[in-house]
Symmetry: C2
Subunit: 168 residues, 2 copies
DNA sequence: TGCAACTTTCAAAATTATTTGAAAGTTCAA
DNA sequence: TTGAACTTTCAAATAATTTTGAAAGTTGCA
C-alpha cells in the first residue's frame, strides 16, 4: 500500500467512525489529519488536503479546539494560524469522554431530577414503572459518573494497569 | 407534574439522547416507551402513542429486537405481536456496548490491521507519524477491548462494587 | 490611518438520514 | 385453499444536518 493510500484510508475511516459517534464527518477527518501530521498545518493546508471549503474548515477546527483535541500554534513572523493535533491517545479519548458526558449525560440527568423532584404519585402501574425506571437510571448514571470521573482524572498507565491486574 | 407530562418528557429526552449516540430518535423513543411500560405493547399501540407510521414503527422495533433491548411476546389466541422492553439498566447498557463495539470499533480495527499489515516503510516524517498513530490506536483499543469484554461478561453488582472499592 | 492578510459568519445549496404509506408478503383459522 | 389479519418492504417525500462561498470582521504593520 502506498503511503498516500494508507493515509487516505485512515482519514476516511476515522471520519466514518466520527459519524456514528455523533461527531460530524469533517470534524473527525480534520482530527485524523492533524493526529497523523508531525507538523502543524494551516487552515489552507487542511482545506487543500481534505478538499473542503474555508468555512467548513474554520468551523470544525474551532470545534476541535473547543474539545481540546487540537491546539493553535503561532509561528513568529507569520500571521497565519497553524494547528497541531493532540497525539496522546489517552488524552484524546479522555477529552472525548469529558466533552460527551457534559453534552449528553448531564442534560438527561437534569430531566430525570426534574421529573423525580416533582414526585409523580404511584397511582397506576404505569406511574410505578416510570418512577422505578427513573430511579434505576439515576442510580446507574451516578455510578457511571463516578467511574468516568476517576477515568478522566487518572493517567493512562495507572488506569489500564490497575484495571487489567484487577480482572486477571 | 402530570404523569402524562412526565412520561412524554422522559420519552422525548431519551430520544434526544439517542440522537447523539448514533441511535435514531424514533428507535430511542420506542425503547423509552417500552422501558417504562409495565405491559407488552402492540405495534399499533406504539404507533398511536408516538404518532409514527407503521413502517417506521416496524423498522425500529426490529432494530431494537436486533440489539437485544426488546423482546417479542406472543399472546395465545391473538395473532398480533406484542413487544416488551428490557427493564434491567445494566443489561440495557451492556447490550448497547456490545452492539456498538461490533458496529463501530471492529471495522476501524480491521482497517488499521490492513494498513499495518501492508507495512508502510518509515520513509518520511509523515509515514513515521502515521505508523506510530496506528500502533497507538491499536494498543489503546486492545486494552479498551479487554476492559469492555470484562464489563460485558460481568454482572452489574460485581463490576460496580469492585470498581468503586478500587478507586476509594 | 489605510490596507493587506488573514479569520469568522451565515444564508442558501447540497447532502444525508429519516419517515411515510401503500403495496406486497406472510400466516393461520376455517 | 381462501381470505382476513397481520407484518414487511421500499420508493418517494420530508426533515435534519452539513457544506459552501462570498461578504463582513479583525488584526497588525507601514
Amino acid at each position: 500500500m502506498e503511503w498516500q493510500e494508507a493515509k487516505d484510508k485512515f482519514i476516511q475511516n476515522w471520519g466514518a467512525l466520527g459519524t456514528v459517534w455523533g461527531i460530524n464527518r469533517t470534524m473527525a477527518q480534520v482530527h485524523a489529519l492533524l493526529m497523523i501530521s508531525p507538523k502543524a498545518l494551516s487552515a489552507d493546508e487542511i482545506m487543500e488536503e481534505l478538499q473542503i471549503s474555508r468555512g467548513n474548515a474554520n468551523i470544525n477546527i474551532r470545534s476541535l479546539i473547543d474539545w481540546g483535541l487540537v491546539y493553535k500554534e503561532l509561528k513568529p513572523g507569520d500571521r497565519k494560524e497553524y494547528f497541531i493535533g493532540e497525539k496522546d491517545m489517552w488524552v484524546v479519548v479522555r477529552q472525548i469522554i469529558v466533552h460527551r458526558k457534559k453534552r449528553e449525560l448531564d442534560p438527561m440527568l437534569r430531566v430525570l431530577d426534574e421529573i423525580s423532584n416533582s414526585k409523580i404519585p404511584d397511582a397506576s402501574d404505569e406511574a410505578i414503572a416510570l418512577n422505578k425506571t427513573i430511579r434505576d437510571i439515576k442510580l446507574f448514571s451516578s455510578k457511571a459518573d463516578s467511574i468516568l470521573d476517576v477515568l478522566v482524572k487518572s493517567d493512562s498507565n495507572w488506569f489500564v494497569g490497575t484495571f487489567l491486574k484487577m480482572i486477571k
